[in-house]
Symmetry: C2
Subunit: 350 residues, 2 copies
Amino acid sequence: MNNSILSLSCPMPKLDFDVITLGHGSGGVLTNKLLESGVFDLLKNPILDEHHDGAIFELDGKLAFSTDSYVISPVFFPGGNIGELAINGTVNDLAMCGAIPKYLSLSFILEEGLTMTEFWEILLSIKAAAEKSGIFIVTGDTKVVERGKGDKIFINTSGVGQLHPKAAISAKRVQVGDKVIVSGNIATHGIAIMSVREGLDFETSIESDTINLNHTVEALLDTFGNDIHLFRDPTRGGVATVLNEIARDTKLGINIQQKDIPVIEEVYGACELLGLDPLYVANEGVFMAIVSAEIADDCLKKLQTFENGQNAAIIGEVVSEHPRQVVLQSRIGGKRVINMLVGEQLPRIC
Amino acid sequence: MNNSILSLSCPMPKLDFDVITLGHGSGGVLTNKLLESGVFDLLKNPILDEHHDGAIFELDGKLAFSTDSYVISPVFFPGGNIGELAINGTVNDLAMCGAIPKYLSLSFILEEGLTMTEFWEILLSIKAAAEKSGIFIVTGDTKVVERGKGDKIFINTSGVGQLHPKAAISAKRVQVGDKVIVSGNIATHGIAIMSVREGLDFETSIESDTINLNHTVEALLDTFGNDIHLFRDPTRGGVATVLNEIARDTKLGINIQQKDIPVIEEVYGACELLGLDPLYVANEGVFMAIVSAEIADDCLKKLQTFENGQNAAIIGEVVSEHPRQVVLQSRIGGKRVINMLVGEQLPRIC
């Protein structure tokens, strides 16, 4: 269900205020009014409906727990807004642990003056993204800071998931010969944000690929179980940074082939224009898998049957040479070491 | 262990930067440098040491899950700072659910220009508060926003706890005749913050009472089990707002006696001066318990054996008259209805 359909079925409630004020963070009548004016109804589920300071649920066994604060600027961008990003980001972090996302907390830091129209639009995206991933928002918090002490809206989501019974995800399990798979076109999210960033805007039809990856990951674990050694999503710092972290943590080397790395032509063009290497640009709807060589081709084929895996590719392998280093073989055959991102390419990309 | 002792045993590491820059939120080399310069060492535990995007642990049964973002201003205040507040706040929310706090996530939104000295001081408080409560910080996130788009530091903590086997905490269990206990002097935290707030500062020796309440709550549950019907901590909105929420949720009335409500004389004086009712001022180190009449006196006695329960008192009871309303009997015998806090007494009190 996309946002425009949601807007029709969940119109913004009639309120006697149209912007967020400091009083909405008081914990008193105004906070209650804000939440009960439609927020609780929109996100309704039996656990959230308890309205306690915390949520109670039953879960057994190995659990995954992850948190992220989202400060992306601008809040609305081509292909999405901070709301769905905040849901998908934490859902995906849980998936990367090999977990099935179950319960989510949702915490807002609102800047005085945020319009209710904007807030409602963000809430609709949150609802749609949560439903798509199957996670339940069970507890939350709302704070308001003075104008000029925040930037419209920051969101924290923290999530709890249950480990997939077949998952054995750990850097320790990565071995020489393993293949490196990337699930889709890289650098799309980062370029979409850059295209609308103040002082930098340029014409493009590129949209962020923010999406939940959990169903795809679950299907891969169902089929390939512990032949999948590691999942990582290359968000801030891009593919290059994540590969360097893997090389560091495994004390092994990684070789990648430039020709195999999937990048949309328009994104590639924008990177050229801006002098950026797509390997360092942030992603949202992409994950990487390090899998045993035996199942790599089958895993790739399976991945390509999913909408968010259509452009998946095997881009490299784990090697014993040059431990802790990532080496790229370029299109024309040259080799160079790829380091971790230094400094900041573009702040507040997620 | 207090902060000054901690500062000696955990001196700030030597760094080649002394303020936070946007690069520290890049997810690349600088983020890694910041975290590995001492943050990971300081908060060290086997789960955090995995350095994955999420933490994995095993827990069974009924769990509690809670989140809060902390935006208190000023960040350093008499009696504490935002670091310990962020740990104690979420630990206490879990305790209020009747849970034993187990695992915590820690997410920073830093403003460019925050000094490392300030950040380290906050981290030391986080470490000390986590150790005191017994909770493990197992996963986290660090974002940086441009100068003027945040306010030094915002912190989100989310926590997972295991329900105490004897806990049966629910508004549904509150019944006519139950006693209302408050665990200590009220309004102290709010007045401590007000005393140093820009434009409002006045001479006082009042310090915030921010503290973890979980060990005290656990001991009460050990002894009185399901005779404790509800716990709530009267943070934003104060005692009056929480009592109103309880009256609303239970559809019962609540009577309280002004003479029985514990308030430090200096806090009472400051409230008089500022024209505030202590019942609406925010608390941090105080909780309320609604317990069955039979055990109320014993529960009070037990509570008074704890350092943070010395000033505990029974302040009222649940009644069938005036459903959904809270009525205060004043010192001179008059009665008046106490409503929920409207608007904002003082923004960013937690």
